[in-house]
């Protein structure tokens, strides 16, 4: 398995066979740059979760107000 193939697998989240997973793990264990790349993938996951939990989202009051508007609009139909 080449470094490029490992990067393609890790980037796309491709499902590998049992043998494929073993080969990839062995490659990651021995290859510094690919191991770094794998670390970057894990860091991206952590960063995007942190970004959305710290969030560009709604405050409690804004969320409640939006929910109230939606409920009034929907249930006005019943």
């Amino acid at each position: 398995m080449s470094c490029k193939e490992v990067v393609e697998n890790l980037g796309s989240g491709k499902e590998l066979s049992h043998m494929g997973k073993l080969k990839q793990m062995a490659h990651l264990f021995m290859c510094g740059p690919c191991s770094r790349y794998w670390g970057h993938m894990r860091a991206l996951r952590g960063a995007v979760r942190k970004y959305f939990s710290d969030g560009p989202s709604l405050t409690d009051a804004e969320s409640k107000s939006l929910e109230d508007r939606i409920i009034a609009r929907l249930l006005g139909k019943t």
């Binding site: 080449s2 796309s12 970057h40």
Partner: protein
Amino acid sequence: MAEAWDVSSAGFIKKVVAQDAASIERLVRAYTRHLHNAAVGMGFDPETAKEMVQDTWITFYEKVPAFEGRSSVRTFIFAILYRKGLEKCRELAKLRKHDPVDDVVAARFDLRGHWVRPPASPEEFVLAAETSEKFHACLEKLPLTQRAAFTLKEVDDLESEEICNTLGITVTNLGVLLYRARNRLRECLEVKSGWKS
């Protein structure tokens, strides 16, 4: 009673399909903020995201009597939101045959598939990724479909099948979108980390 309030229980779904007011209210309270987060995650500003969330609930309410339970209610609702987002941007779920990021990644390897420009050190990269402004600037550069696939996978933790249903794409296309999203973000953050290989 507890089972009836579990939003994934059969009893609850039955009530939702029958447009039971209390159950609909429960769903709106449970998912409105998540929907807003998802819309912002797709790249819409907070006000546009609010409008999209309202439109999503209206469409959901109209369509829910025909809901057959083949996916979860959550997936059903999020699918409506993502379809609206994609329609809004006229991108639909069409996959570009070529993306410049493919060339950027390819240029980092030699003909035998070995690194010629290895990745940045983990410490510098993590520092850049965890700096909100840098991460935001890089996330903004992702095309909508890549951004949607990436956030559904990494933030909403959906299974690949659910993401494919939501975005109306194949598993192969999802792999391509995730690959491009992750590499575009990675390359951007690497530059912002000041890494020079």
